[in-house]
Amino acid sequence: MSIAEHPLSKYLRTELMPHIWCSGCGNGIILNAFIRALDDLQIDLNKIVVVSGIGCIGRIAGYLKLDSFHTTHGRPIAVATGIKLANPQLEVVVISGDGDLFAIGGNHFIHAARRNISIKVICANNFNYGMTGGQSGPTTPPKAVTTTTPYGNIEYPFNLVHLASAAGATYVARWTTFHVGRLIASIKKMLLRRGFSFIEVVSQCPEMYGRYNKMRSALEMMEWFKRASVVADFSDPARAEITSDRIVVGEFVDAEKPTYEELLYANIAQTTIKRT
């Protein structure tokens, strides 16, 4: 008996399967949403580069059958900046985690957003450092129990959509792994637009986060996303909280502004020595 090839397997390095992610992990949903967006748009696969950092979701670059760069911890946006500016014809997508993009890589995120360089960032926010065994991170909710906050987290978390919009991102959205259809639509929109774009995907980590915080399974975590989510498109990102009772999702920013690479190459065109 032969097994029919999955219609989306052409987007994957299937020889690297099975993936390293735990059962129940949200990363598979994010990977699925991303390649469905590529497929829907029929993106030229030779003109897209995926850059990732370190952490569970960082391995996504290796699983995609695209030009891909799995960088050092926190640096995907800085590497992506070099790729985009060296060849602005390329679509450059960064897919990484909350710790990678907002703790060790926070500086690169805010400055890329400030420049409005056309890098499209998808952040898997699972509230913890899963790869290293479940430590607290910049988005860990107050009081949450992690291996480095055994008596409860005493830090205030970042609100990523508020941070991104304040830093200058021209597209900002948040969805959860429960909102697959809307997430795919949002990724497609992001791929078709210019400027620094950011989608936060609230994602479940049942193994390293959920089971220490009264959500023993992926299903329980997704029940939370389903129960608590409120779609509030273009509401104030400053008020887009993530609590046990309320997760504000939607598109928060969709603005037009000249991009860094447009301004840069306009400068170069004006300055370059004209040869006769």
Binding site: T72, A78, I83, A86, T271
Partner: protein
């Protein structure tokens, strides 16, 4: 660009000019084909970024000021994989921040050039004073086993010439090439001859000779260097800082792959060391007292050995142009049969350790100097005279 150098507004403006070492470095980079610079302001290397910001757009190149030195070298790595020859420049504190990405560039075999205009350290140290205190960090600064290439210019002309050579070596061996320059050579002004374009030898990375479905991005040729595709060319390949096989796939749990990869990353430089290494030998044939020096200190040493000869002391100079891979065979051969070796350097004992490893039977004397003032010819002469009377 600050000041008028009298250059024509061209990619390579052949002629004789008066300029600073930092400026000559920029002109050398552009002549070598550099079309991407990412940097962060830091004394005494800022002049390179300023000059690049003015010059690169004129030749169609990209200049970006990044948020820190970590980002600068990260962007260089991205730009190199997107197909451009790329460079950054910094000084000690920034060089420390770049160590992480030097490891990534070595692991991912990214051709790139890093200029470190050395000042006094550690930490913030002496921002505007010269030093040679980063020469060991250049080799050992990032974690893990790897090799880089490091060159040490000792004149403004060499800031031009060796920047081109750094690009050529980086492209040939797919390795970070470092220009380790003391703050004096970088900031002093001298005469520079820029030859016509057709006289400048420029190497570029090997491209794949197979179609995308046959391409193995980290499968080396006989020279141990793999041909390099770039993003956007249709090869759709993966690059990772993890231990990876010839396909570029992560194989972090496979010790055989780790052994094969790390050995090749090191051996592609070690086994080609004789092709890479360059030294300058001055009056060594009959020399009894030999100075081993590099950078601006070698200039003072040259003057000192000439004056020693006038006093009847047979002194000679071995000037290291390549610091890494360390020219140990050249040092061993040059010092054989001599009576003493003196290593003056603007640090508290770094390259002298390598010299001691290479020199078998002759005593090696270290002459360290820290602070604003480099070694004076007279001081080196005194050291020669002292050794001569031993």
């Amino acid at each position: 660009m600050r000041g008028d150098l009298g250059m024509k507004d061209e990619t390579i403006s052949a002629g004789i000019y008066f300029m600073s070492g930092n400026m000559a470095c920029v002109e050398g980079a552009i002549a070598a084909g550099c079309r991407f610079f990412a940097g962060y302001p830091i004394s005494p290397a800022t002049e390179i970024a300023e000059h690049m910001a003015a010059r690169l757009p004129k030749v169609g190149g990209v200049f970006i000021q990044m948020e820190d030195e970590i980002a600068a070298l990260s962007a260089i790595i991205g730009a190199s994989y997107a197909g451009l020859k790329a460079m950054t420049a910094t000084s000690g504190p920034g060089f420390s921040l770049m160590q992480e990405s030097i490891g990534l560039a070595a692991m991912t075999e990214t051709p790139c050039v890093i200029v470190d205009v050395m000042r006094g350290g550690p930490s913030t140290g002496q921002p505007t004073f010269p030093g040679q205190q980063d020469v060991m960090q250049a080799k050992w600064g990032s974690h893990g086993d790897y090799e880089i290439i490091a060159l040490a210019p000792s004149s403004v002309q060499e800031m031009f010439d060796l920047t081109i050579e750094a690009f050529n070596l980086a492209e040939t061996y797919r390795v970070p090439a470092l220009l380790m320059v003391d703050g004096i050579t970088a900031r002093m002004w001298e005469r520079v001859v820029i030859p016509p374009a057709e006289e400048i030898k420029v190497n570029s990375r090997k491209k794949p000779r197979v179609p995308p479905d046959k391409y193995m991005p980290f499968l080396p040729d006989e020279d141990m260097v793999p041909p390099m595709a770039c993003f956007g060319e249709g090869y759709r390949f993966h690059v990772t800082g993890l231990t990876h096989d010839e396909l570029g796939y992560p194989r972090a749990e496979d010790s055989a792959v780790q052994m094969r990869l790390v050995k090749r990353l090191c051996d592609k430089i070690r086994r080609n060391a004789e092709k890479i290494v360059r030294v300058d030998e001055v009056m060594l044939e009959d020399a009894e007292i030999i100075i081993v020096a590099y950078g601006i200190v070698a200039r003072a040493a040259l003057n000192a050995i000439k004056r020693a000869r006038e006093l009847g002391i047979k002194a000679g100079l071995l000037r290291l142009i390549t610091l890494w891979p360390f020219p140990e065979k050249n040092v061993a051969k040059a010092t054989e049969g001599s009576k003493a070796v003196i290593v003056p350097e603007m640090n508290y004992g770094q390259i002298v350790r390598e010299v001691e490893r290479a020199v078998k039977t002759v005593p090696v004397y270290h002459f360290p100097k820290l602070g604003e003032e480099p070694h004076m010819p007279k001081e080196i002469l005194e050291a020669i005279v002292r050794c001569g009377s031993l």
